[in-house]
Subunit: 223 residues, 2 copies
């Protein structure tokens, strides 16, 4: 059977899994799922009702992005995304979890919901005060990315890893909305340009959502 990923195009968590699959050179079909429709067939795959969900070519069903990534790194070991010793792997996971949990809750989650989900699904007017507060708190988190990009070759250490993939997934979704203040964070911009030029990133830059066009720089490698 074909490997399939149920996803939402702007979800940072889905983007992380897409990038991990692509970095590992694993082919997969991309299936857009609208989890809020609560399709029975989808709830049978994941009773939690969230995307991403991976159905691997051996029939294994995986849900929750970090569980999917751990599974992929265990089964497809040729190109690891959580490389190194146990302590180095712990550091990669720490950085990834910071952005999946804290940045997701304070920044990317609210901005994507207010600006993209509400508009695409006609769920009402965006809460502008919440968007402003989330854009403001983005700066603290970008300062930490800037610090890491300055101290290390890649965000999780010497090697490209899930830390880079996770942070780039969140920022790429916000960049689609034109909401990343690149000019204020040149170290972050330089690091992101390196990630963006990787072949695995290309399909994300080709994403286009009906009714919500990205700014010109979104797909521009020399933004």
């Amino acid at each position: 059977m074909a490997r399939s990923l149920y996803h939402q195009p702007l979800s940072p968590y889905c983007r992380t899994v897409r990038l991990v699959l692509a970095e590992k050179r694993l082919a997969f079909d991309l299936i857009e799922e609208r989890p809020w429709e609560e399709r029975d067939e989808f709830l049978n795959l994941n009773p939690g009702g969230t995307v991403p969900v991976l159905v691997d070519d051996n029939g294994a069903v995986l849900a929750e992005s970090s569980a999917i990534v751990e599974y992929l790194d265990e089964v497809y070991t040729a190109i690891p995304v959580i490389p190194g010793t146990p302590a180095e792997r712990g550091e990669v996971r720490r950085v990834a979890l910071w952005y999946d949990l804290k940045f997701g809750r304070e920044v990317s989650g609210p901005i994507l919901f207010e600006k993209a989900d509400k508009r695409l699904n006609r769920w009402g007017e965006p809460d502008l005060a919440l968007i402003r507060a989330s854009v403001e708190s983005m700066k603290y988190h970008l300062e930490y990315v800037s610090f890491l990009a300055d101290e290390r070759r890649w965000l999780g250490g010497d090697l490209f890893s899930l830390a880079d993939i996770t942070v780039a997934s969140h920022l790429s979704a916000l960049d689609y909305l034109g909401d990343v203040p690149w000019a204020q964070f040149p170290d972050v911009k330089d690091w992101y340009a390196r990630v963006k030029s990787r072949p695995a990133f290309r399909p994300l830059l080709d994403d286009a959502l009906a009714g919500l066009a990205p700014p010109r720089i979104y797909a521009d490698l020399d933004f």
Copy 2:
């Protein structure tokens, strides 16, 4: 050097790490950290400023509970808490993440903040409407625990695992506040009695917070 865990007593995420260490028979010192005080020494260990943080006896520093657990399961393999094939391990992680993420956001996070953190730190009056809504949404999540406990030997599959540890960590913290409706969920109660009687659980039942006593059944194995 001695292995040390920086923690908060009622944090479900800290309780998970304490239980994993105890199940693996790893000795450790428990250090109570008040992350909101933002001590410099603590921020040097974890710039994210959250508990739990583990300093292992080899000097490795780990932050974010799921990164700590993955590290411990990689280094101390004699007693695994994420057992089985990659797909089985993925299922254990899926259940654990459901409760760490969704249950944490909708139920245990708000209840513990409103009822325990505010009272212990004199941060103002609890939001009673928020507590009621969180207790109400607990039921949906306990129904799923009930389903799993009925279908499987343990919540993540045939073997005791991180799935049981994580769900028990969240419920034990709420049980300290007397907020788990055990009588309505007999399957959950039976499963929890089995977890609670494990030797690794004993230190959690001996926890006592100044100014906030647990109900009698908290430490009772025949509750």
